[in-house]
């Protein structure tokens, strides 16, 4: 039990090893989820499970859609400029 706790704490002293591949962009998703959850936790007048999950999911989806549109627009610009 103590050894397990030590191993868990030790994982926080060594960085993870991953490169700059397209899959690493998926680290965006938990961050967007955190932003959506905290924003809705501060803005909703009353917290009920169903309503909170629905509102946070809508905001999460909206941010992701906006990020995809922004990425596609920037990609199109880069393609137009560089040929």
């Amino acid at each position: 039990m103590v050894m397990d706790a030590i191993f868990i704490i030790a994982t926080f002293t060594e960085p993870e090893k991953f490169g700059t591949n397209p899959q690493s962009m998926l680290w965006l998703l938990p961050l967007v989820a955190a932003i959506a959850i905290i924003y809705k936790a501060t803005k909703l007048p009353a917290i009920t499970a169903a309503n909170f999950i629905k509102e946070a999911a809508i905001l999460f989806g909206s941010i992701i859609v906006f990020v995809i549109i922004a990425a596609l627009t920037l990609h199109a610009f880069a393609w137009l400029i560089t040929g």
């Binding site: 926080f12 960085p15 993870e16 938990p30 961050l31 955190a34 932003i35 959850i37 905290i38 917290i47």
Partner: protein, 136 residues
């Protein structure tokens, strides 16, 4: 005189709420009896911060190194415990470079900025509750 006392008490209460919200994420809402909000805030901010230091190690808390001041400021907004972590990592004891460092800094500083939003929200809620009885 009585009104002055009430105003001083309210200011002190707002300061306590703000300080508690900084000490422990969600504690500001907890003292305002917003238990659901406080649990959501605590779990989300702690998870986001822990994911950040898991990816980049505690080395991403680099208070005395080359980290930009705005990243350090945002990280410190998580909790004063970040200052303790900063003491541990001082002198480059936990080196971290490249992509893990950037992702770790983005996660920990975003968690801090989200906690700043919660601190401001808790103080604002406390302020509104303070002026409600006066409005009648």
């Amino acid at each position: 005189m009585m009104a002055l006392h009430t105003r001083e008490k309210q200011t002190l209460f707002l300061l306590i709420v703000g300080l508690l919200a900084w000490l422990v994420p969600g504690a500001g809402h907890f003292v305002l009896k917003e238990k659901e909000r406080s649990i959501i805030i605590f779990v989300t901010i702690m998870l986001t911060f822990c994911v950040g230091i898991y990816i980049g190690s505690i080395g991403v808390i680099n208070l005395y190194g080359a980290t930009p001041w705005y990243v350090v400021g945002a990280q410190v907004m998580n909790s004063p415990m970040v200052l303790v972590l900063g003491k541990m990592t001082a002198g480059g004891a936990y080196p971290v470079h490249g992509w893990p460092n950037e992702i770790g800094q983005i996660y920990t500083s975003t968690a801090g900025l989200l906690n700043l939003l919660c601190i401001v929200n808790a103080v604002y809620l406390a302020y509104l509750r303070g002026i409600e009885p006066a409005r009648g």
